[in-house]
Each structure stands twice: as structure tokens, then as C-alpha cells.
Amino acid sequence: MSRLNPFAKLPGLNTASVLLVESEEHFQQSLAEALVEETSVTVNVRLAKSFPLPIENDESRPRIDLVVFIINLTSELSFQSAEASLKYLEPGYFLGKVCFMVTNARSSSVPAERLDAVRRLAASLHCPLLFAEEQTPEGVTNAAERLLTILKAAAGFVPFTTPLYLSNLTRCTLPPDIDQPSFD
């Protein structure tokens, strides 16, 4: 089974590539459009539904600097699909080149266990966990800005900062009372 390798290819000049993985294929489109508006670097966005990626694209695919898993908290399938996709990434990605983005966290239909499960997953992999609001354009631009900050570090555009260093600062940590029952 072929895994995605972070260091197998040469990077492009002044280019950063990000792969957005989302089971619903809904938010990734608007997020991609907000990401490519960045002017200081050329941002290439690849969209996928899940892993494994089609092997026909292996040749033409640029070096992926950051893999973002977009999880819709209202759907269990979304979380399971993201979890199942993790095994198709080389371990090198988990040194700061993977990020989790969660949508619909404020929705009342979300069971608390699911957010806890996502937190545990992100914490165990030492990855940052971002919360995004996908329904308004401001929410989308906000999410894109935060993602760009991580992307620039992951692609090596920030001097004296490696992705591993940044992920140490931004990674998800579990609150100490995560195992205790919540109020509702």
C-alpha cells in the first residue's frame, strides 16, 4: 500500500501545497478558494474525499506540505473516514505536517463524545486542532488565515521555525477533566 511521503519530492519555488481531505466534499471548496488568494506565496490546493489517493496522480502531484483533515462533527462517518485515512500517511507527516479542522462544533446535535474523540486523536498524534465556522464568508476567511499560518511554517517559509517546532506550540492538548462526565 503506497503511502504519501512528505520528503520524496523537491519543493517548488515559493510554492506551498496543501491537501484538504473531507468526506463530505463541501467546505473544502470554499476554503480552497480563500486559500489561493494569498499573494506572498503561491498556494496549491489539492482536494480529496479520502485516502488512498488515486495512483494515476502520483507523478503530477507536487510535494504536499500540509495535510488537513476536515471533520464535520455532526457526522460520525466524517470522523471515521478521517481516522481510516491516517494510515495512508508516512510517519514523517506527523511531525507538524498534519492538522485537524473541525466544523459544526457549536451544533446542538453533536454528542460530546465525538468532540472528545477528535481531541484524543489530535492529542495522540501531536497535531493542532482548529475549529472553523463554514457557513459565513468571514468564518471561511478566518479559517483560511489560520491555516495559512500553519502552512507557511510547514512549507518552510518562516525563518527559524520548523513545522515540528510550531506543532509543539500549537498541538492539541487534552483538558485534565476530559474523562469526567459533562454537565449535559
Partner: protein
């Protein structure tokens, strides 16, 4: 006689919602232009009714044929075994035969037959019992397209059903009629579904290049990894259900009478008897939702025959049993 028709008109006008009253009266077409303009629609309904009654004294019984075409459920029947001259049945012959047969069977009834511009023959039947006049407030509507074997019925009572079947088969020169297992609220939709009058996609060996109109011009920096797979899924979904606007169906019902199969549940699987259950899908536009389920990957592609036979066979009521493959009008093999 005159008073009952006045009463009937009063009740009819009362049933029509006030906003639709003007439109309905225009559609009715019985009032002349001056009379229509003289009607003051800002008055209360009671005042309006009185005005209306005074205006149309003579023909108060010419009832409003389709005041609410989208209310109530339409059921489909199919005529079977046409005789040799079934194809040559035309309107006057049909009208005469139908009225003649039905009046032989029923005493108190009122039948009106009218042909609309789209070749549909509308029949309005109001039944009464041996003691009472025909009840015009609960009429049965029958729509038939001549030379096709399909009949659409709304508001059929169990008393009228065998008599109507008999009259229809004789008048259209067939030998039988059966239920076609298709029902819906919207007559044009079920008609379009049955007669395949919606845009269809025929299976091709070589797919056409992906249409540009549904993918907005993507930024050259954005690229889809699994675009080919998505396009393939979309093509299969459109092949199963059709392109463009789809006829509106409200529900699909599957009556299952099969053995329970689940590798994780041994107790239920080991039972000898079949597991009976009913699965019902309902939506504002069922075919549209099934098509988007298939093209987004929620339903597996190629589309399972259980779902694709809704548009293919024009039915939305299925009985699914464990029989070996052998097509019967009610049975349908389960997908293992």
C-alpha cells in the same frame, strides 16, 4: 333543484381559500369580463358568494373541474390485454361507451367528461346512494390518456372501484385492469415518470467529457485528486435517474418479506421465518434526493436495482421477497 345548486356553489366557494378565489374564477371562465371586473374581491367571502349567485343563476352546477389539482393522492392503474381495436378508440366513442356502461351499473351518479389540451381526458364522477343525490363535494377524478394503458385516479371509493374498472376496461377495449403501484400528489409528475417524459441519460461506452456548466471555472491552483471517480459516480447516478428536472415523487415504499441477514446478529439470522418489515423513503422530491445520494457517494454506485427500478419501472410500491429470479409484477429479487 335550483336551491341545491345554490347551496353547492356556496359550499364550494367557501372551501376555496380567499387568495386563490380570483384566480379560480378566472380559470373557471364562466363569468364574462364585465362580471369578473364587477366582483369586488375586497369584500367578505359571504358577500362575494351572494354576488356570485346572483350573477350565475343559470349554470350554477357547471362545477369547477380542477380547483386543487395538487391536493390528495393520485393512484395509477394499468389496462391489460388490449383487444384488436383498442388502438383506434377515440374520444366520442370512449365517452359514449363509458357513460353508457357506468349508468347501467349505477343509478344516482353524475359523470362529466372533458378533454384537455394536453390530450388528457378528465372524468369527474359524483356518486350518490339509492336514497340521495350525487355528492358533488367528494367527487372521484379519473384521468386517462387515450391509446395509452394508464389511468390515474383520485379519491376513489371502494364502492366505485369495481364498477369503474369494469366501465374503463369495456370503454377502452381492454380485458382487464390492475393496480400499477405508483402514487403521488402531483399528477403531471407521475404521468411524466410513467411515460418517460423527462430527460434521460442513455448508457454509453465512452463517457463524454465532463460538463463545464456544473464545475465553475476552477482556479488553476485548486485541483481535485479524485475528480475522475466523482465524475463517474455522477454519470452513473444520472444514468439511473435521469438528467435535469425530475418528476416529483413523494415516497417510495418497500414491503420486505425476506430472511434476516446480519453476520453480527446470530439469533435473528438463525430464525427460520422471514422477517417482515416496511421501508419507506419520503421526501419533497424523492428522485432528486436519490440522485444526489448516488452522485455524492452516500449510496453505492452503480445504483442498486432496488432504487433504480423506481424510474425504470415507474413504480413506487415494491414487495421484495427471497424468490429466485423470475420477474413477476409484485416480486423483486433482493440484493445479496
Amino acid at each position: 333543484m335550483y336551491d341545491t345548486s345554490k347551496l353547492l356553489l356556496q359550499r364550494l366557494v367557501r372551501r376555496i381559500p380567499t387568495q386563490m378565489l380570483k384566480a379560480t374564477l378566472d380559470k373557471w371562465g364562466r363569468l364574462t369580463v364585465e362580471q369578473r371586473q364587477a366582483m369586488d374581491f375586497t369584500q367578505s367571502k359571504w358577500a362575494l358568494t351572494q354576488k356570485l349567485l346572483s350573477v350565475c343563476e343559470v349554470h350554477a352546477l357547471s362545477v369547477i373541474m380542477n380547483d386543487n389539482p395538487n391536493q390528495g393522492m393520485w393512484y395509477t392503474f394499468q389496462l391489460l390485454e388490449p383487444e384488436n381495436d383498442a388502438q383506434s378508440v377515440e374520444l366520442t366513442q370512449f365517452k359514449q361507451q363509458f357513460k353508457c356502461h357506468l349508468s347501467e351499473l349505477l343509478r344516482q351518479m353524475s359523470v362529466k367528461i372533458k378533454k384537455h389540451t394536453d390530450e388528457a381526458v378528465w372524468i369527474r364522477i359524483a356518486l350518490g346512494s339509492s336514497f340521495s343525490k350525487p355528492n358533488h363535494l367528494k367527487p372521484t377524478y379519473v384521468v386517462h390518456y387515450l391509446q395509452t394503458p394508464y389511468v390515474f385516479v383520485r379519491n376513489l371509493t371502494s364502492k366505485l372501484k369495481p364498477l369503474l374498472s369494469q366501465a374503463l376496461t369495456l370503454a377502452t377495449r381492454h380485458q382487464g385492469v390492475k393496480e400499477a403501484n405508483l402514487s403521488g400528489r402531483n399528477l403531471t409528475s407521475i404521468r411524466d415518470l410513467l411515460m418517460r417524459q423527462y430527460q434521460q441519460v442513455f448508457p454509453t461506452k465512452y463517457h463524454s467529457p465532463p460538463e463545464e456548466e456544473d464545475q465553475p471555472v476552477l482556479n488553476q491552483h485548486i485541483e481535485k485528486e479524485q475528480g475522475g471517480v466523482a465524475a463517474h459516480r455522477r454519470h452513473m447516478a444520472h444514468q439511473a435517474f435521469g438528467d435535469g428536472m425530475l418528476p416529483q415523487l413523494q415516497s417510495a415504499v418497500y414491503m420486505l418479506d425476506t430472511k434476516f441477514r446480519d453476520p453480527n446478529n446470530r439469533t435473528m439470522t438463525e430464525r427460520e421465518e422471514t422477517f417482515k418489515c416496511v421501508v419507506k423513503f419520503s421526501s419533497i422530491n424523492l428522485l432528486e434526493s436519490l440522485r444526489s445520494c448516488a452522485s455524492s457517494g452516500i449510496a453505492s454506485a452503480p445504483v442498486t436495482p432496488l432504487l433504480s427500478s423506481i424510474p425504470l419501472k415507474g413504480r413506487n410500491y415494491f414487495v421484495v421477497t427471497d424468490n429466485t429470479p423470475g420477474p413477476s409484477s409484485q416480486g423483486h429479487q433482493t440484493q445479496n
